[in-house]
Symmetry: C2
Subunit: 613 residues, 2 copies
């Protein structure tokens, strides 16, 4: 497997093969059109093709397409270049882009088999792939593509909300099934128990749903609290709002100095809620936080979940691995077994996952977290992030496909409930119409690269190694001489995944406001504020605000030499944020070249900034 | 304008120009990559490009792409052919497909300007286009693309739910603003009044939102009922569920014999609710019902809304024009003014909108409905339906952009709240990451064809005329002789838009179950149940079920000669459903050819069906 052959390339090195495949896929389609009832005559005649009106319209089309191309080239971000180390973007997989294009020509709508007999099957296969990736049994679990990670998270809340209300509904419809249970016990049943109960009364399912929170909004107000870490993506706020949980019922848990949800604090919050007899609707962990790339202690939450379960307290557990989900491929052998920790580096050597055989990754914490993901009730995982698929292709997997029945709907025109059809997506998902092309893109990538160490693991390895190259460089570099000043650089912490956050400061400066401005100025020089196409280095930035982060930034604040007083007054820290999704910065030679370019760019940008201030 | 030049063509007549533009857009991009820092060396070396591993991986890629292409050709629906008259699908606009492809190469994420500086601007322009299409002031209204019509509908419910709860929140946060108002009055304020109130206390906005249904889920339970017609898309059920309104608070209104919401019944329901002091959260009309293409009496709802408003009763009014929305283009002159009814046919003659100058469309009812759309609070309109754009591109427009603030969120990494950035989408939408490519596709189409009679109107006209050709044909044809039997055909009703529903029956049969089976058998012979690629005629079907339609199907049931008793026993009617999105069936010669082919196919299919039974 040579992953470089799967990208167009930072310098379009693979333009010939891309172009060849592109044209082939197009003519496959064009000839397919012609050969559908070859006896049907042309509709657009040769004389029409040469008419004035035709030529005028065609010219207009060409003019607008040229204008579009020009606008794109003038302003879009150069994801393809290793000079772009900002958001979780890089160039995407060539076969995925080509697969999307091919799918788009046929323009299937995966909402129903009828609208896309080929691509709905591909989406079902992709769902099974993602189950395998997460350690779910593909025959028991289920998954599908979503528009994006946010809507996948909404769907997760939809699941937990409707499922957790089912016992209350059963109490009303089939009371004998739960007769000995108190309200508190009903609100504390596990997903497994609830699914098993429903299995006992298949004929009552529709009636029971009518008394669940699907129909009865007062039930929503009884379900208790949704618990997320401080580092949650902002879509969790939207999820609580949109699904009618309400932000007042969202509890955020403090993080530790590695930006992972603090398990002691989580336990404290749960204990406190249990004491007050307030139910816990669900707990969310993040695998790959958006701002830091941190990986939450999934294994510890699973342990806690099991402990509480012993005492009759059960909550729904969802993992938001929109960003980090594909990272699990690097821990799976070719049989999709989780590789023992002690064998990891032998396996990595065998498969040439890392160029640097001594790479200090993964930590045992990160390994344990990934291992335990298979025990969550559902997981968000976005192919359009670390799956290197073009937008938009989010995804969600659920551990037990019986859960689907708690959110299902049927439309007469789209689904034939009483007829056996091969695959049916629309009845069990949040979104409506969906591009079959997205499924074609993901399927193509998955068929070329298995979702384990032999395939995607290589890509994840390249990206993580790029982050470690950058982190080690900044760690060792420590400072830049800029005119008469010294600009220090402070990495935030060792990456759990492929993101490096760091802070610049003028040596000796102890003023937090000044430091924040320095970093924001650097960001402005390294982003869309300055024309991107001629920029030497493009990054993103983030801000740790007290309202979200409480005192978690204090560790780095102190390390930089800024006082707690300053923090208490300002309560905001601006950081530079570099996600090394690019698959090229693992190569020592390539990294060396770009590293020197980065240094030059940093000195040059600060030289301007210092002059301007 | 020659609309035929904008499609690849049913027989790929335009393959040369498609291929030329495709390759040009690709090389524009490939060269852009190379010319971003031309001094940066190639990363993939020539020797790597000829290595064994590289060739092996490339071969695998080619094999999988061939497999994909083969699967697509074997099973996908031939939307491109006029033989496909089923769902609301046909081939899409060539420039839109090319625009999507170009956009995908740059793979921007329109969630934030930073991720897509070119394509977010295009999406904002598209939003303004859609405002103009709906008669909203582009400077006052606002719009954006959504994944699909369903999520646009969810967003509409999100708006109405959060906005209608704002007065309750104001009562708690700034009571002096609403001090004289009762709870009933607070729950009956209009969107305009609420926005004006918020304008008075801009500094309190965030506080007020904290007491709205965004934070407080008990407020959701106070908002009353959401009213939809029986013909609503099933996403309205999902919307009520997902947004925490609950299906128990969804009221469906009966329809009349034209499958439009019955205004008297609506009034009755509202009066009844008002009597009981139950608030009305919102009312939804459909412009282009999914099963019948019916256009609800928007103008009459607007009149009703104004009347009730006089009496202090205000509800949010949303129009689900996911399907019919682009139809409004045919009523707008080049200055985007709504064309007077008496001038319509002169204008249509001037612009050659219809081949048949005597076409009996639009009815005054349909005209009035489209005219009044500009008075709704928000409208769902999907470019990927009658905009002829590939999936996925839904859309929503709101009349007053101040509404955005009631649903807004900000993410530190994605948005800079305190910095002026040109355009910002992610903070004000339901979805998360979104493909810039979709905006590029829609923008390209809109720039080539204005959203009025000179552009898209022509396309809508071709499609509507195709439907009238089909409707008139079935109406006049009346029956088919199949072996010894006579198969009658009964169109449901004159199309409001471009969809024709019809029912087949064996002459003399008065058994509804038998008739339903006959139609379903026909559908099975004309859909994915039979291999699509060699099928002579492909349609879709629908079912009118008593639970959704009450006794509305009685009119056609009786017309066919089936008794009310039969209906009362069976309570289900199976219909064949043909949406003539194809832009070719307006041409008399083309229609004549395919009409004869349809007749042959109908006779041949029924001949098989009758033998099998």
């Amino acid at each position: 497997m040579d992953i470089n052959s799967l990208f167009l390339g930072a310098k379009s090195e693979n333009d010939e093969i891309f172009s060849k495949e592109l044209v082939k896929l197009f003519y496959d389609h064009a000839q397919w059109r012609k050969n559908f009832h070859p006896e049907d005559p042309d509709i657009i005649s040769k004389s029409e093709l040469s008419s004035n009106e035709y030529i005028k319209t065609t010219n207009k089309m060409e003019t607008v397409l040229n204008e579009l191309s020009s606008k794109l080239r003038a302003k879009m971000m150069p994801w393809h270049s290793p000079r772009y180390i900002g958001h979780m973007n890089s160039e995407t997989l060539m076969p995925a882009t080509l697969g999307y294009f091919a799918g788009m020509l046929y323009n299937g709508n995966n909402i129903a088999y009828e609208g896309a007999p080929a691509t709905t099957v591909l989406e079902v296969e992709v769902g099974q792939d993602l189950c395998k990736l997460m350690g779910y049994e593909p025959e028991i679990g289920w998954g599908h593509l979503t528009p994006d990670g946010s809507t996948a998270n909404y769907e997760a809340v939809w699941y937990m909300r409707n499922i957790k209300s089912i016992p209350l509904a059963i109490k009303e419809v089939v009371p004998e099934l739960v007769k000995e249970k108190t309200q508190w016990e009903l609100l504390n049943m596990s997903v497994d128990e609830i699914m098993d109960l429903l299995d006992k009364v298949p004929d009552k399912l529709d009636d029971i749903k009518k008394y669940s929170s699907r129909n009865d909004n007062t039930k929503v107000t009884m379900l208790g609290k949704l618990i997320v870490p401080e580092t949650k993506h902002y879509s969790w706020l939207k999820a609580a709002d949109i699904l009618g949980i309400g932000l007042d019922n969202l509890i955020t848990i403090e993080i530790d100095d590695k930006f992972r949800m603090n398990i002691d604090k989580l336990k404290e919050v749960i204990d406190n809620l249990v004491d007050k007899k307030i139910p816990i609707l669900g707990v969310v962990s993040v695998v790959g936080t958006t701002e830091e790339g941190a990986v939450d202690y999934v294994d510890k939450v699973i342990n806690l979940k099991d402990e509480y379960s012993q005492n009759g307290i059960n909550f729904y557990y969802h993992i938001d691995a929109a960003y980090g989900g594909y990272g699990r491929a690097i821990f799976l052998d070719e049989d999709y077994k989780f590789i023992p920790y002690e064998n990891l580096h032998d396996v990595y050597n065998k498969y040439n996952v890392f160029k640097n055989k001594d790479i200090d990754w993964p930590s045992k914490e990160v390994y344990n977290a990934y291992e335990s993901m298979s025990k969550a009730d559902s997981i968000t995982v976005d192919p359009h992030k670390m799956g290197y698929i073009p937008y938009k292709a989010g995804g969600i997997v659920i551990k037990d496909k019986r859960m689907k029945n708690t959110i299902s709907y049927f439309a007469n025109y789209a689904f034939q409930k009483d007829t056996k059809i091969p695959d049916l997506l629309g009845a069990f998902i949040l979104e409506g119409s969906k591009a079959g092309a997205a499924a074609a893109a993901v399927w193509t990538a998955h068929r070329i690269m298995d979702l384990n160490v032999s395939g995607y693991g290589q890509l994840i390895g390249a990206s993580v190694e790029g982050a470690y190259n950058l982190y080690n460089k900044l760690q060792n570099r420590k400072e830049y001489i800029v005119n008469e000043s010294i600009v220090e650089v402070h990495p935030l912490c060792k990456p759990d995944f492929n993101m490096v956050d760091y802070v610049f400061n003028i040596k000796g400066n102890t003023d937090l406001v000044k430091m924040n401005k320095l970093n924001f100025d650097f960001y402005k020089k390294s982003s869309y504020f300055t024309t991107s196409y001629i920029n030497d280095l493009i990054v993103s930035h983030t801000e740790f605000d007290y309202s979200d982060y409480k005192d978690s930034p204090l560790e780095i604040i102190r390390r930089i030499g800024i006082s707690k007083d300053q923090w208490d007054n300002v309560h905001k820290l601006v950081l530079i944020r570099s996600c090394t999704v690019t698959p090229y910065l693992n190569d020592p030679e390539v990294f060396k070249y770009y590293s020197e370019e980065f240094d030059k760019a940093i000195v040059s940008k600060f030289s301007e900034i210092l002059k301007e201030n």
